[in-house]
Symmetry: C2
DNA sequence: CCTGCGGCTGTGAACGTGCACAACTTCCAA
DNA sequence: TTGGAAGTTGTGCACGTTCACAGCCGCAGG
């Protein structure tokens, strides 16, 4: 009775497993972790004992002795509002959760939008509470990355970490090729006055997608039809308005994100331009936004699922001792009704 | 030199603080945790030593001895797709992260959409890896809640947990009053044939918002103008199409979520109905969707910030030994262009 | 037959913390 | 003066795990 009650109340420890299997703690630990130097019979006995006792390793005790945590922090350095305005972040978060769960690694969500948040997050990570960091930060020059590199904790960035290339692992879509493909598509549709709304110049998406645009159109003619946005819907509206004021005769716009493109569509609509008859509009990301605009948006699909999967793989590699690597993944043109 | 190097490499422990403050480990522990029975001079010395050593308590060691984790799991039981389609989940997630961070409690994000995920999440939580659970699950009858109640780990639900009222703590908006207010608003605008698109009948939002609608219109006349949706955009489209087929002369629709309302707007537009001239449309949630539709949506604002704050407060109360409580929070009518 | 070696196993120590307990001080009332 | 109460402090132990080490066995080579 007493034994049964204890077993029911307290979680099974490695001692219980050892006793049930008729071996020692060390053997159980070896069987479960390394798997080396354990006889087949002992391994089988341990496996059975684990099943009957319902043993799950105590992570606190484990990370106390191994001096490192098993969990991974997903850190978002954008101002908080972005998390719910831009669907891309949700997709990334969901993908990473999924990919990590498959490796039985819990994900801690942390934000570092304000200075207070950044200090708190930085301190938390430096305290060794997590074994790795997935950093989603588009803007360069974020002090958090400096802090993290100083701690020596494995970090994988989403998108090329401008200024840290080669020193920080990252996974990213091939922004430049994707942008090139979309602008080529606009030309194939017969468009001649093609403008662009870029992302901020201190973000990889802002730089690379503009580069792809210029690959097709050349730097000279392009220079006069470039406006910068900030990836927000409102930013897209403002940039589109500026473009129309500068060049009323434009017949196409390549917008560096779907959210900004949605804003641009509104402005074009209010200005009496028909899409795609008068002006063709191309976006970037293929987020849910692209499917819900009117007309539905032609865009460049980012391989978010592969990106998140690669981020997790790179992080696990890093913790295994590999040097920082990069994964550049191909994009895909999705043609809908706006071009 | 050696001391300096050690201090730089290894994290400061409670021993280091005790040595620096000239007291014992026990006093340091008391000063930091309880604060009771510690002389002012000792407390001051400890405080100073903590600052100079940069001491941060080792959470692994702490939870090993206290037998409970400090972190909180945010569990989403909806199918994964919903996370990025419905902005409400992002808002909830962001709010909880924020509120927990203020208490220095890390948030673990877990999903339980499929059976495999649910089993994994359930096992993880049962293993004692988290100190509490914030459960975001609209549908009733989810086996996860049963699992969780069995473990005895504190749980706070978001929205009334149908079938567990009084036994599980929860925070929710006053759905019924909010729906009532919106339908009254439609009548004040002179509408007479008011239909409704509800949420699923096994969700609190599906039940309560329909109840509010009936409070105003009476059960009899209402019965013929009710269609069920599933909170998705596509579900809203389908339900709107069914309503139009049943009652072409309707002049208003109360839709139980903004996302479904966005779908309904599309269908009304394609059917040649002008909004709000021919048909007034009201939504629920006041999510970003409501501001980006054309016309902008009249809706009921859910006090998400207060909801998340209350969820966290209820959870902390629970861990402190209080019995499960509920927090019902008032909503607000937001009038825009669709009514 | 002894020696060495490689595979396998058990045992003690350590990780850093909170808590129970004992010891010590101070102070006041009997 | 003494006793005890109240407040403050130090110390041993336990939490559950991994790791290094030592001991055991069987086997092959000298």
């Amino acid at each position: 009775m007493t034994v049964d009650r204890d077993k029911a109340r307290r979680r099974a420890t490695i001692h219980d497993v050892a006793a049930a299997a008729g071996v020692s703690r060390g053997t159980v630990s070896r069987a479960l972790n390394g798997g080396r130097n354990v006889s087949p019979s002992a391994a089988e006995a341990v496996r059975r004992a684990v099943r009957t006792t319902g043993y799950v390793a105590n992570s606190a005790a484990r990370s106390l002795v191994t001096q490192r945590a098993h969990s991974v922090a997903f850190v978002l350095t954008e101002p908080q509002q972005r998390l719910f305005e831009d669907p891309n972040f949700s997709v990334l978060l969901q993908g990473c959760t999924q990919a990590l769960a498959e490796h039985d690694v819990p994900l801690l969500l942390m934000t570092a939008g304000s200075d207070v948040e950044r200090a708190r997050t930085s301190r938390f990570i430096a305290a060794g509470h997590v074994g790795g960091v997935l950093l989603v930060s588009s803007h360069t020059g974020n002090p958090l990355l400096e802090d993290l590199r100083h701690t020596g904790i494995p970090v994988v960035a989403c998108g090329k970490p401008l200024g840290h290339e080669g020193r920080v692992a990252y996974a990213a879509a091939d922004d430049r090729a994707g942008a090139r493909r979309l602008v080529e598509h606009l030309r194939e549709r017969g468009r001649r006055r093609i403008a662009t709304i870029t992302g901020p110049p201190d973000t990889p998406g802002g730089v690379e997608r503009l580069a792809g645009y210029r690959d097709v159109l050349g730097a000279d003619g392009a220079a006069s039809l470039v406006e910068h946005g900030d990836y927000s819907r409102a930013g897209g509206e403002a940039a589109m308005a500026r473009l129309l004021a500068r060049e009323p005769g434009l017949d196409a716009v390549f917008v560096a994100s779907d959210l900004m493109a949605a804003g641009a569509l509104d402005v074009l609509h209010d200005a009496g331009r028909r899409v795609p008859e008068d002006v063709a509009v191309g976006g970037f990301d293929d987020s849910v936004t692209a499917r819900s605009t009117r007309p539905a948006l032609t865009t460049v699909r980012q391989p978010f699922e592969r990106i998140t999967r690669e981020m997790v793989r790179l992080l696990l590699d890093l913790t295994a001792g590999h040097p920082p690597a990069a994964a550049i993944l191909p994009t895909e043109l999705v043609v809908r009704d706006s071009t």
